[in-house]
């Protein structure tokens, strides 16, 4: 809808946002990529300019067994957490999608609360619940159900629990929208043809909500594999994931070139994978049309 405004007018409107974005986001990102090819100088923070694959070879070959292991653990834990989120979000989303008015609004507010409150606060709550003399272990011991505390922190279990809870809202909100956008005549139509409610869900509702659900699941997976506070505090430093190792390398060791390589490598993989996926899709599409 152009109203013939001059270039200068639009530029003025856009420039603060563009300048900030370039300075605080784009340039640092490019610097990260460039630094990943430079050499680490232990004496100063500024790496030595070079064009070297030393960091990448260190990452993938020399210490490959460790760092590739970190990547793998991250994907593994992230995947498990995502699957759990996917499954448990459905009943809640389905229920919320069916509500109306104030009740729906309140439910959405409640779902959003942990998300807005932030991972830090949720993590504290989980520690109170899962720690050796915390609410869960304390209650089970009082009731005589267990003798010694369940070890739920400092391992994958605690981290997965924390990740699942953190990102259920990320799945539920789009899923509620997806479920709400299904043509309202379809389910009653199926019922009138004799299908029971379970069949209606699995044959009509679920398949139609799937695109939105998969989009949500991808977002959850991405959030899981890049999560920082949850694995760090619930893993008690013993669970190494992408973000925690990035922190160690970047902030503690201050080996910026290597930290950059460590951070950038997965992005390359994802980019390649995504491009490949798009092209495969296009191939399948054109084959189907023939």
């Amino acid at each position: 809808m152009s109203t013939g405004k001059s270039v200068w007018y639009k530029a003025i409107l856009l420039s603060p946002a563009v300048l900030i974005s370039l300075f605080v986001f784009v340039i640092p990102f490019f610097q990260l990529v460039i630094f990943s090819f430079w050499r680490y100088r232990p004496s100063s923070n500024i790496p030595e300019p070079a064009f070297s694959l030393a960091n990448y070879s260190h990452l993938l070959i020399t210490e490959g067994s460790y760092y590739l292991g970190v990547y793998w653990d991250t994907i593994r834990i992230g995947f498990i957490a995502t699957v759990i989120v996917f499954i448990v979000s459905y009943p809640l989303s389905w229920y919320i999608a069916r509500q109306k008015g104030m009740k729906k609004g309140i439910l959405i507010l409640l779902v959003m609360l942990p998300m807005i409150g932030g991972g830090m606060i949720q993590t504290l709550g989980w520690i109170v619940f899962l720690m050796p003399y915390g609410v869960l272990n304390g209650s089970l011991r009082e009731l005589g159900i267990i003798q010694s505390s369940l070890k739920l922190l400092g391992n994958d279990i605690g981290v997965i629990i924390g990740l699942v809870q953190s990102f259920i809202p990320v799945m539920v909100l789009p899923l509620v929208t997806a479920l709400g956008s299904i043509n309202p005549v379809l389910e009653p139509a199926a019922r009138s043809l004799g299908a029971g409610p379970w069949k209606v869900f699995f044959k009509i509702t679920f398949p139609l909500s799937l695109p939105g659900a998969i989009a949500g699941a991808l977002l959850v997976f991405l959030s899981n594999i890049t999560s920082f506070v949850t694995p760090l505090l619930l893993g008690l430093g013993k669970v190494q994931m992408f973000a925690t190792v990035s922190y160690t390398m970047g902030v503690e060791v201050m080996n910026y070139p290597f930290a950059s390589a460590f951070a950038f490598f997965p992005m390359v993989v994802i980019l390649v994978g995504w491009l490949g996926f798009k092209n495969i899709k296009r191939l399948i599409h054109s084959k189907a049309l023939n």
């Binding site: 563009v18 439910l107 304390g138 920082f228 950038f264």
Partner: protein, 263 residues
Amino acid sequence: MSEKVFNYSTTILAYLVLFFLLLPIAMIIVGAVNPAPIFSFPPKGVSLVWFNTFLQSKEYQSAIRVSTVVASYAVVIGLFAGIPAAFALDRYQFAAKNIVHSLFLSSMMLPRVIWAIGLLQFYSNLKMLGSLIGLILAHVMMVMPYVIRMVLASLSFVNRDLETAAQSLGATPRRSFLEITLPLVLPGIIVGAVLGFVVSFTDTVIAVFISGVRNITFPVRIYVQQRGQGLDPVAIAGSVIVILVIFMIEIIGEKLFKWSRFM
């Protein structure tokens, strides 16, 4: 019959998941009222002493102050940059519009940790690590997507004919903007500002990576405490207060603006 089973099961499952979702918040309340300095369950009593300690604590109050200052500046600058940008995106055509739009939303889309590493090095190079202005600028970038998104959503509800009608009745473009458009966009602006404030206030990742020792925000304070000395009931009490405030903001926002429709 099968209908009833289906409805009961889905309702029960739904509330179980909701219970799980809100469990940590319930837990920090349990932890905050436990008078013992080292948490254990079952509790030996109930007390509000930690809330008092939190409100008296110099370190925590300073952290709250820093977080508030940073978030306030971030929102103000974010509004200043984001509102005109949203208008430009909504109403005008220009080159690379999609790319520019994605650029503005990028801090919300890309993983914060990767951005944090890049920012860490960038600031280190410029000797800006640990500076307040560096932290604020980073938070502006975090706040902007929320402002732009909410203002764009609001603008999509504004019927352009209203402005045309006002001008056909003799109003100047400036007046029609101030008296017609702006009031209609105000809910989006306020929702974006408040949401941005909360996002900035609760940010842990970026702050931990770049804030250094001079400007310790509230989440960083809790993080340092947790990593150093373990679970601190004062931190838990502070978190309860923060969550309560956020919840009240949510309710007010919903009552005034019905902002859940923006989500």
